[in-house]
Symmetry: C2
Subunit: 321 residues, 2 copies
């Protein structure tokens, strides 16, 4: 299987990407990685890595302007590592695309290049929140800020298929993020969504409050992208902050390992990147601060998406026809 | 100063209320507390406390039905500890009201009894998020789920006055909770709010992302009540969860004090309850799980609100005239 990895995405590019690719190749003997990015920069490092023909470089010298709105920025940069990588997938020269570049740019380029699956109104960004007893997929995590009920119901369905195919959860429990547990809680959009989910064939368990998330109240947590994005960033920063606060106090006592264990439940790197669900292809978006381990996990998610036939699974769901 | 405390609010009522009242009386010699609730239940305990005439009981036997929508529930229970307490404030027999009862019921009863200040479209629930380097007031934390730009701007103003009068911050930095720092980020409502705040006389520092909150990016964080409520509950549960996770691992090594220190920054009890800002009076809502210390802090917030003349301060703000 050939997976394209944008080599220019992380804050530490292309080092984290290259090391991540090597980790992924080690754990998956069927894998080939195509790096898109600056040939001159990448060639010596790939050469030195000893990966042989399992890593290939495709030259993509252009940069996506981060200051410009994503849609016009990606339109104006057809030779960027993002566009070139996605074009290879569309042309059938690769099975999936992984990038730690700007989330907005990768989403815009994925929509532009791969397009939406028929029946999907708005593709959703699904992000894993690690919890005390397993992962919860939050959809949407920032692709769609203002959502109608029908969009939220589609996110629930896309998330359900993801958790089945990628995390192996047979009947994912779907929860609706809200301010209270009763059906009549929340905005009109949320009340309407509650009724639609309750009437659907999905495994809807009702509203989930902010305090329930960390206790793994559901496998798929449905919310609009505004709430999802704010929560995600808050979550991540809080775990980092606490780890640092505690580290300062406890490390002198030599408890690094205990701390590390306690925070493992919050380790994003274990779960790889955020898939863009509902596009006609596989596009996995990783955190800009991804470690090699996180990049490798993102490649793993992409590979499982391909092997499970997730895109076809979504496409043949009767709700999307 | 006489402050009414709803004696029936906490999960541990009336014990936490009574002990909280005693703590508050100890630290503030000018204070008198009026407990509203079941006279038969309260009298022996007040007697035993030895507080003398500094604690008085006003009989209020009725319970607010938690299953009913708050507005009709409080309308149908004029003899509840909440309604009786607020009526005393309106009649001038007390200066402020503090309750750890159902947030929805206390808000509805406060609006019904005290009314809104002129010019305030929607009173906001302001809740303190403790951060690494000081408190941030989040407004709104759940009173108004669907908000227009003009409401969010009013929350910013109410929060500014609160932080000046109660926390002593001279020029509170106002941030707008959003998915990115640029003015063009977020929904139309958020973009419009950004422009209105930037054009106002408030000390607006721009958009604040989820990841900035814990670093004390601002003193007043503006958001709608849906986001505020979800964030608040998530925050609280996460800190509790981590404390427990870590406690299990570290307590055997005898590090209780270090843990306690590290989590002190997240201790709600330090900051007391959430004021309902924009009503014609002082109504402070405490957490249902409040400890005596948290109840005492809530009484402290109420007393500071009265002494600083916060309500008059809001009423004379030219923006509300």
């Amino acid at each position: 299987m050939r997976i394209v990895l944008d080599a220019m995405g992380t804050d530490n590019a292309p080092l984290s990407e290259l090391d991540g690719a090597l980790l992924a190749l080690e754990s998956d003997p069927d894998l080939h990685v195509i790096l898109t990015g600056d040939q001159d920069l990448l060639a010596p490092q790939v050469e030195e890595s000893g990966a042989g023909d399992r890593i290939r470089i495709v030259h993509a010298p252009q940069r996506v302007d981060g200051a410009e709105p994503p849609v016009s920025a990606v339109r104006r940069s057809p030779n960027s590592s993002i566009r070139v990588g996605l074009d290879m997938q569309r042309a059938g020269n690769a099975s999936a695309f992984v990038s730690a570049g700007s989330t907005g740019a990768v989403m815009a380029a994925s929509l532009l290049t791969l397009g939406r699956l028929r029946g999907v109104d708005r593709p959703a960004l699904g992000t894993i929140f690690p919890t005390g007893s397993g992962p919860t997929l939050v959809a949407d995590a920032g692709a769609n800020l203002d959502c109608k009920s029908q969009h939220l119901v589609q996110f629930a369905r896309l998330g359900t298929i993801y958790m089945q195919d990628i995390q192996g959860v047979r009947e994912p429990r779907v929860g609706l993020l809200n301010v209270g547990s009763e059906a009549a809680k929340g905005t009109e959009v949320l009340q309407e969504t509650y009724r639609a989910l309750a009437a659907s064939d999905l495994n809807f368990i009702g509203n989930v409050e902010g305090r329930d998330i960390v206790h793994h109240a559901c496998d798929v947590l449905v919310c609009d992208g505004l709430v999802g994005n704010i929560m995600l960033k808050f979550y991540e920063s809080l775990a980092q902050f606490l780890a640092r606060e505690l580290g300062t106090r406890l490390n002198p006592v030599g408890l690094d390992r205990e701390l590390e264990d306690a925070f493992r439940v919050f380790d994003y790197a274990e779960y790889g990147g955020a898939p863009l669900l509902g596009v006609n292809g596989v596009s996995v978006i990783c955190h800009g601060g991804s470690s090699p381990k996180a990049i490798s996990a993102g490649i793993g998610v992409a590979a499982r998406s391909v092997r499970s036939g997730m895109v076809a699974h979504i496409a043949r769901d009767p709700a999307f026809r």
